[in-house]
């Protein structure tokens, strides 16, 4: 049987192969003549490939934390209001640009505007989670927390709708953001994503045993001497940081956070520490695979990567349901 080390090795090999493809996939088809188009490769394809890997890793990590924290294999890192919050953040920045007479597209290369958009999405994601925590009065009751996340999600999404109704120029940018896209990932994005992963992953690994203990149920985990309130709050914050950073750079890429931990759990029997690592790797591989495909299926056009992850993720879940005989 495949062990955790075997799976890690397999995922690393896949990631390397995909990275080569990522560097080769351009708007005019495949090309490995990197020396001739060095500028293109180093300025666009390389950061985009690295950014896709890192975004996927953050989403895979956040998904594994979410599913352990809520003791639910269908929990998604977007659940706690971060997705709707980030969406609102982006819409507000776009609409504000419209009010100031500046038409901002998501593709803007102006550094200040880019920082504004990314910052807006990140702040929105964090505010969304904070609102959810306030509404649920902390993390003490996981079910209430989930419900609060749903309520905040609906509320913030309707505010987004309202803003786009008043300021229609924000609509297109919002759509691209909601679909998720890796096409704006540059070196700065890659650096920010790498920073977030370097902060969140080690901390999450340090608390992985608490996620193991939660397998027993809330009360049993407490009986083992865990301070569940603190541990849960910390894990929610880590999840919000990972999700917020990923979403701010690449929009609402669907299903990577939900499916990555699933795939790992199906293939190997592991505790949460290896699961967090492997799920990050799986997320990286998934998102880069989707990104390479998005860049190469309809050359010279490209698909928003989120459309592909949604299709692939949806198909995976359907296969899973069929295998279990539930569908």
């Amino acid at each position: 049987m495949l062990g955790p080390l075997g799976l890690a090795a397999g995922l690393l090999i896949l990631a390397s192969l995909l990275a080569v493809l990522g560097l080769a996939a351009g708007s005019e088809g495949w090309s490995l003549a990197w020396a001739q188009e060095w500028d293109l490769v180093s300025a666009i394809r390389a950061p985009r490939t690295l950014g896709a890997l890192l975004t996927g890793a953050l989403l895979g990590l956040a998904g594994a934390i979410a599913q352990g924290l809520f003791r639910n294999p269908l929990a998604d890192p977007y659940l706690l209001g971060s997705a709707a919050g980030a969406g609102l953040g982006v819409v507000l920045v776009l609409a504000a640009g419209g009010l100031l007479g500046q038409h901002i597209g998501l593709a803007t290369t102006d550094l200040l505007l880019r920082v504004g958009l990314v910052g807006g999405a990140f702040i929105g994601a964090v505010v969304g989670v904070a609102l959810t925590l306030m509404l649920a009065r902390g993390t003490g009751r996981p079910l209430v927390l989930l419900l609060a996340g749903v309520v905040v999600g609906i509320l913030l999404s309707s505010v987004s709708e309202l803003v786009t109704l008043i300021s229609p120029e924000a609509l297109r940018g919002k759509q691209i953001f909601l679909l998720g896209t890796t096409s704006f990932l540059g070196w700065t994005s890659a650096a920010v994503l790498a920073g977030a992963l370097a902060l969140v992953l080690p901390l999450a690994l340090r608390f992985a045993r608490a996620l193991d203990a939660l397998v027993l149920g809330e009360a049993s985990a407490s009986s083992l001497g865990l301070d569940l309130h603190k541990v849960r709050l910390l894990l929610v914050v880590l999840m919000a940081l990972a999700t917020g950073t990923a979403v701010a750079q690449a929009g609402l890429v669907a299903f990577v956070g939900l499916v990555s931990p699933h795939i790992v759990r199906r293939l190997v029997v592991v505790t949460h520490a290896p699961l967090l690592l492997l799920s990050s790797l799986a997320g990286a591989v998934l998102l880069l695979a989707a990104d390479v495909a998005a860049r190469s299926v309809i050359v010279p056009q490209e698909l928003p990567v989120g459309v592909l992850t949604a299709v692939l993720g949806g198909m995976y879940l359907l296969v899973l349901l069929r295998r279990r005989g539930n569908w």
């Binding site: 003791r71 608390f207 045993r209 608490a210 407490s222 001497g225 759990r265």
Partner: protein, 260 residues
């Protein structure tokens, strides 16, 4: 050791308007194997979670090895008292052995690594509940009885001086129920204070001491040989059965016989 392993004084807890536990006081000595019995809704599980320090009582106090429960750091409490929950809440894809390893968490802490002593305790606990053969399988792939034996092993692996078990025989087949009782009696002989909520009265009557609970209160407390205890037991169950003595190789045993 001086004083009881576990002491409760005037414990009360309301759940809504319902007095789930109503002024319960009791001492549990080290080396004593005690069963709690009573009809559904008598407050047995609530009492056990109060004794385990997992709920705060509205009134009253619990002392664990002479120290006030409310003032104990959680990890010290967890190392001194193991608790097995009644509900089958455990749910996950981690291996059975990793579930049992969680029992050592109070010893090595969230950030410490399990030592060889910890691994040995895990092996002992798995062997004690005969769960070694499926130790590498996922918790979610085990049958109800196998899962219960893994969860029991998790509680035993703590090797705590006080062991509180809520319905430990759930899902177990008859031989494993008997085996569990033997290991609980063995733990008690080694000086552990064992307190278990049991539904099967015949199993409960194998304990050194039986606490009879109804409507949140302790109705009787004594060894099964005490006629007053047996009388109280039949009374709280509205004389649905009688308790008979059966002589066995190991001496007389008490058996609950259904009457209707």
């Amino acid at each position: 050791m001086a004083g009881p392993a576990l002491r409760a004084e005037g414990l009360s807890l309301r759940l809504g308007v319902h007095r789930a536990v109503d002024g319960v006081s009791l001492d549990v000595q080290a080396g004593q194997w005690t069963a709690i019995v009573g009809p559904n809704g008598a407050g047995k599980s609530t009492l056990l979670s109060l004794l385990a320090g997992l709920r705060k009582p509205d009134a009253g106090q619990v002392w664990l090895q002479g120290r006030a429960m409310a003032a104990l750091p959680p990890r010290e409490r967890a190392a001194a008292l193991a608790w097995l929950s009644q509900q089958g809440e455990a749910e996950g894809d981690i291996a059975a052995r990793d579930v049992v390893r969680l029992g050592r968490l109070p010893r090595h802490g969230l950030f410490g690594a399990p030592t060889t002593a910890d691994e040995a305790a895990v092996d002992r606990a798995l062997a004690e509940t005969e769960a070694t053969p499926f130790a590498t399988r996922r918790l979610n792939e085990l049958s109800g009885g196998e899962r219960q034996r893994v969860l029991l092993a998790r509680a035993l692996a703590v090797e705590a001086p006080v062991l509180l078990l809520d319905e430990p025989t759930t899902h177990l087949d008859a031989p494993h129920q008997r085996a569990l009782l033997r290991s609980l009696a063995g733990r008690a002989r080694d000086g552990v204070a064992v307190l278990a909520v049991l539904h099967d009265l015949t199993l409960a009557l194998a304990a050194d001491r039986v606490l009879v609970m109804a409507r949140g209160r302790l109705q009787a407390d004594g060894p099964p040989a005490d006629p007053a205890l047996r009388q109280a037991l039949m009374q709280v169950f509205e004389h649905a059965f009688s308790i008979e003595a059966v002589s066995t190789v190991g001496g007389p045993r008490w058996v609950a016989v259904p009457l209707r």
